[in-house]
């Protein structure tokens, strides 16, 4: 029974990912990554004995150990990606704030320069 539920869930996820890619909301690279992820999760869910083979191949004792280890690696990657995105956003905000802050100064410099040039014209 759980396999049926898992299969439905995986199919729904794959459909959503394909639609997001079709609508241009997701890049091809990201789309392929998530397809591979959900397809892999679906295959391992349907044939859990394959995970034992995979687990032994990678040197872990149990499938659960491998699952948690890979989960932690994935979470670390996601956290690092988010951190970098936040950094980029902060830098963009700072650039915007800078330009706004310097506008009055630019205006003042322009006024002073045109004041100087009209004085020299006289």
């Amino acid at each position: 029974m759980y396999r049926v539920i898992l299969l439905i869930f995986v199919l729904l996820a794959l459909t959503k990912i394909s639609l997001r890619y079709k609508d241009g909301e997701m890049s091809l690279r990201r789309c392929l990554f998530w397809i591979a992820f959900w397809a892999g999760a679906g295959v391992l869910g349907m044939a859990p004995q394959w995970s034992d083979y995979f687990t032994r191949y990678l040197g872990a004792e149990r499938g659960a150990d491998l699952f948690f280890f890979l989960g932690i690696v994935l979470l670390a990657y996601l956290v690092l990606t988010l951190y970098m995105q936040v950094q980029r956003l902060e830098q963009q905000i700072a650039r915007l704030v800078r330009e706004l802050a310097l506008k009055p100064l630019n205006r003042k410099n322009t006024e002073e320069k045109s004041g100087d040039s009209s004085a020299s014209d006289q």
């Binding site: 690092l80 905000i93 700072a94 800078r98």
Partner: protein
């Protein structure tokens, strides 16, 4: 205007400030012994006190951030403002009264005579009379070790806000880190672009006010972690 003659006309002093209403006027008055007040650029990083108003009253050029972005961002704004004003030498100077204006002539001299593009203040020289608290000294020495490992620059003070930059160096150095990590980033940029730099002793005056306001020691650990992540992430 005091010593240095014509050289001072090309100098802008950038002072990032956040909640420095208590000290800003005094700092500007001290700097005014060397440059005209308009040559002091105070970058108010969205303070909610009277920092900007008091700086304006004291005669400085004031630039205001609409939201708080951090000292690095404020410094980058001030340097950009100084370059747009045509400054040939840009000095970064703290707004909390720790820096001594009387060190200014020694800071600009290497740039004026063409010896260096960047002058870095150091509180760990024999000629410096800074009263650095012990725990802060240890943390700063660790920062120096880390900086020497990552940039290979043999600096003696990796986190001193007292610097002088030639216009050429100011245009080349890109400050992307908005918060306190900008200090290490500046050293990275000096190393990356192989800019000529020298160190000069400066006197840092730690007071109860500046220690209460300044970076807490535990914040230094957070900063070190962020620097490590930034380096790892590339």
């Amino acid at each position: 205007m005091a010593e240095g003659g014509d050289n001072w006309a090309d100098v802008c002093i950038v002072t990032p400030a956040y909640h420095e209403a208590a000290m800003i006027a005094q700092v500007i008055d001290g700097l005014a012994r060397y440059v005209s007040r308009r040559q002091v650029i105070v970058v108010d990083d969205a303070s909610t006190d009277q920092t900007a108003a008091l700086a304006q009253e004291a005669g400085a050029t004031v630039v205001r951030h609409a939201v708080n972005c951090g000292q690095g961002a404020a410094l980058a704004t001030g340097v950009e403002a100084a370059l747009r004003q045509g400054a040939k030498i840009i000095i970064t100077f703290d707004a909390d009264g720790q820096h001594d204006p009387d060190d200014l002539p020694a800071m600009i001299e290497p740039i004026v005579i063409g010896l260096a593009d960047v002058v870095l203040g150091t509180r760990f020289s024999q000629d410096s009379q800074s009263n650095v608290p012990m725990v802060r000294k240890i943390l700063l020495k660790l920062a120096v070790c880390l900086t020497r490992l990552t940039t290979r620059l043999p600096v003696t003070d990796a986190h001193n806000g007292y610097r002088a930059l030639s216009a050429k160096a100011a245009k080349i150095i890109r400050i992307r880190q908005n918060r306190m990590e900008h200090a290490s980033e500046i050293l990275d940029e000096i190393a990356r672009h192989r800019l000529r730099y020298v160190e000069r002793p400066v006197n840092i005056r730690y007071s109860e006010y500046s220690l209460a306001k300044g970076q807490k020691n535990r914040a230094a650990l957070k900063m070190a972690i962020r620097m490590f992540i930034n380096k790892a992430a590339g």
